[in-house]
């Protein structure tokens, strides 16, 4: 028994067994329970520390060898493993409570296992291949086979597949260049190939068009689950590349490119969100905005932005999850999901409306939200060295805040009947509970965000 067998192979086996359960409810409860068990196992099991096992702790090796290559999950990776399986459990539970019949149950466990396999494969340049499998697997989890609207899905498949050749070729260029590149020409070629691969992976301009389209074509409970996990893993892989290659860490052009691409994405996302009428597409644009902000954080430099990145990704995973759940809550209503109808939507689902507005504010980094401390630190670091990027980022966040005000104005156009709110409180107890926790996180953000530092603790050359 070793770590990859527990957290990569076993979930695949469990998911396959779950398919045979005809009763959807049992399938859902087992999915939630098993995901939770996989996350709790990270607290009980110690990897490669056999001699130091404490109370209830079991020691296991970290390596699984397959066809001459290794899958390695280290002690430092345990927080990531905990996070992805806890994410599975929470999203599964939410889909059950919101009665959403989510498509990611039970195959989401296989998807998650492939994502972890991509992070753990050694040499890590092969991760592009495993990510491609995860992407292909994610498509049936996003849409039904009979869906009419699938241009976004087609583009998603095309652009993600295009990334794989670039990353693999970059890997070949860099083989043996972990310490120093062979010559300057190769450095430029490898960076170019790697950069193109990242651009396709993260849906960076001009390959971003699929993001709002896919969000429009799918239920947010499915798209949120798939893309939050996928892009978080992409960012972890990018950090792994930066950590793995000494020359890349010291190549200023690479970080400059990340900053510029990041601010372009943040601006695109916020402009799109401001002018968009479809609420589903708005989440897509917010997603692009978040990707941009995370890229800027990594682009600050190899060492400075890394801890900040962990806080930012933590706050964004939480806020974006609540944003997706609240929009998904509107789905069951017989009202068109448009900004123009936001008043009607909020009239019937007031708590979902409040959660949507509050999560958008958290994503812009408003005070007293979980997004405030990391966003504030990002502003401070940008103000010291890159004032132009700072101005653009503030403008992009102002645009999103204005969108929130625009939506609030829509709600306040008509007097709200208190009776609706009282009945909604009963129906939406879950969202009320989530919203209260979310607000509490806003008052004590460090309580939760410091945990996300473990996400990057394995990058020994980036944490100084």
């Amino acid at each position: 028994m070793n770590a990859p067998i527990i957290w990569i192979i076993s979930p695949v086996v469990v998911a396959i067994l779950l398919i045979f359960f005809k009763n959807k409810s049992i399938q859902e409860y087992l999915y939630i329970g098993i995901s939770f068990i996989f996350s709790v196992l990270t607290l009980l099991i110690r990897i490669d520390l056999v001699g130091e096992s404490g109370f209830l702790a079991i020691g296991i090796p970290s390596v699984l060898n397959i066809l001459g290559r290794s899958f390695v999950l280290l002690e430092n990776d345990k927080f990531l493993i905990f996070l992805v399986y806890f994410f599975n459990a929470i999203w599964g539970a939410t889909s059950v409570i919101l009665k959403k019949n989510a498509r990611f149950i039970p195959l989401g466990l296989i998807y998650t296992a492939f994502l972890l396999a991509a992070v753990s494969v050694e040499p890590f340049l092969y991760s592009a291949l495993i990510m491609e499998i995860a992407v292909i697997m994610s498509i049936p989890l996003l849409v039904d086979s009979r869906t009419a609207k699938r241009s976004g899905i087609s583009r998603y498949l095309i652009f993600q597949t295009m990334a794989m050749p670039f990353i693999l070729l970059a890997g070949w260029f860099l083989a043996g260049g972990e310490i120093s590149p062979v010559n300057p020409d190769q450095l430029v070629q490898a960076t170019l190939l790697l950069g193109l691969g990242f651009v396709f992976w993260l849906a960076i301009f001009p390959f971003h068009s699929w993001v709002p389209m896919v969000f429009d074509e799918t239920d947010p409970i499915n798209s949120g689950f798939i893309f939050l996990l996928l892009h978080s893993i992409y960012f972890i892989l990018i950090l792994k590349y930066i950590d793995g290659f000494a020359w890349l860490r010291t190549y200023p052009v690479f970080f400059q490119a990340l900053r510029y691409l990041g601010i372009i994405m943040a601006s695109f996302g916020s402009i799109g969100l401001f002018f968009e009428k479809s609420i589903r597409k708005m989440i897509g644009y917010e997603f692009l905005h978040s990707v941009g902000i995370l890229l800027v954080a990594i682009g600050l430099s190899a060492t400075r932005g890394i801890t900040l990145f962990s806080y930012l990704i933590g706050s964004r995973i939480i806020s974006f999850s609540i944003l997706s759940w609240s929009v998904s809550r509107f789905e069951s209503l017989d009202v068109k999901m448009s900004v123009i109808n936001f008043r009607d939507l909020t009239q019937k689902r007031p708590i979902a409306g409040a959660s949507l507005l509050f999560s958008l504010l958290a994503l812009t980094g408003m005070p007293l939200t979980i997004g405030f401390p990391p966003q504030q630190t990002l502003y401070q670091l940008l103000a010291a060295d890159y004032p132009t990027i700072l101005v653009l980022m503030i403008l992009s966040n102002i645009l999103i805040t204005m969108t929130v005000f625009k939506l609030t104005k829509e709600v306040l156009r008509k007097k709200y009947e208190i009776i609706y709110l009282l009945s909604a409180l009963k129906e939406e107890l879950f969202l009320v509970f989530i919203l209260i926790i979310f607000i509490v996180f806003g008052f004590f953000p460090r309580l939760i965000l410091v945990r996300f530092e473990h996400l990057v603790s394995g990058f020994e050359f980036l944490i100084k």
Binding site: I66, L67, G68, R69, Y126, L129, I130, E132, I133, I136, M137, I139, P140, S145, R146, R150, S151, S154, L157, I158, T161, M162, M164, P165, L168, L169, W172, Q189
Partner: protein, 192 residues
């Protein structure tokens, strides 16, 4: 030399068939021929056992695609205008000419046999054109498979890892399964 030229011509002819005809069966036949040409090219570098993984996985994928298309209510047999066919062919021919012009420069980056490089890059470019001129998912899948075949020829010339070969074969089959997933069965046909 003769074999190399023959391989290049066969690859372009097989793709040309996919490009020009409207019948999905002929297109699938074109793709199967592409996999065979790819197999012959890779056979010159790799042992038969490993090279045949490429051929078998490709043909398995094609069998999956064909089975789903046979039962599908959506069979891409639309009539095409002659002007469209000519446009598509000329676009692809342009790609082949551009690749012929830039292949020596790319060969400085990638030290692999010229035949492999030309076939690989041409197929990647042609697949991209094929895919970008349509909104039909079946055609997109065919385009993607063409791109991946082209890349496979290039990458196999650079590296020969068993794990990569296995995962790559799995990806090809998954993409074909996806094509089948989006070709729902014709219920009327099933009832008959």
């Amino acid at each position: 030399m003769f074999l190399n030229n023959l391989l290049i011509f066969s690859a372009l002819a097989a793709f040309g068939l996919m490009l020009i005809v409207s019948d999905w069966r002929m297109r699938i036949a074109g793709l199967a021929s592409l996999y065979f040409v790819g197999f012959i090219v890779i056979l010159q570098i790799w042992p038969v056992a490993l090279a045949s993984v490429k051929l078998i996985s490709g043909w398995m994928g094609i069998a999956l695609l064909s089975t789903s298309m046979l039962n599908s209510m959506h069979q891409v047999n639309d009539h095409r205008f002659t002007s469209e066919i000519i446009f598509r062919f000329l676009m692809t021919a342009l790609i082949w000419i551009v690749v012929a012009a830039i292949a020596p420069s790319i060969n400085e980056w990638l030290p692999i046999p010229y035949t492999n490089l030309y076939i690989g890059v041409s197929l990647m470019g042609s697949g991209l054109i094929f895919m970008s001129l349509t909104e039909d998912l079946f055609e997109i899948i065919l385009g993607l498979l063409t791109i991946l075949t082209g890349f496979d020829i290039i990458y196999s010339s650079l590296e020969g890892s068993a794990l990569v070969t296995g995962i790559y074969a799995f990806i090809i089959i998954l993409i074909c399964l996806l094509g089948g997933y989006f070709s729902p069965p014709d219920l009327d046909k099933e009832e008959e």
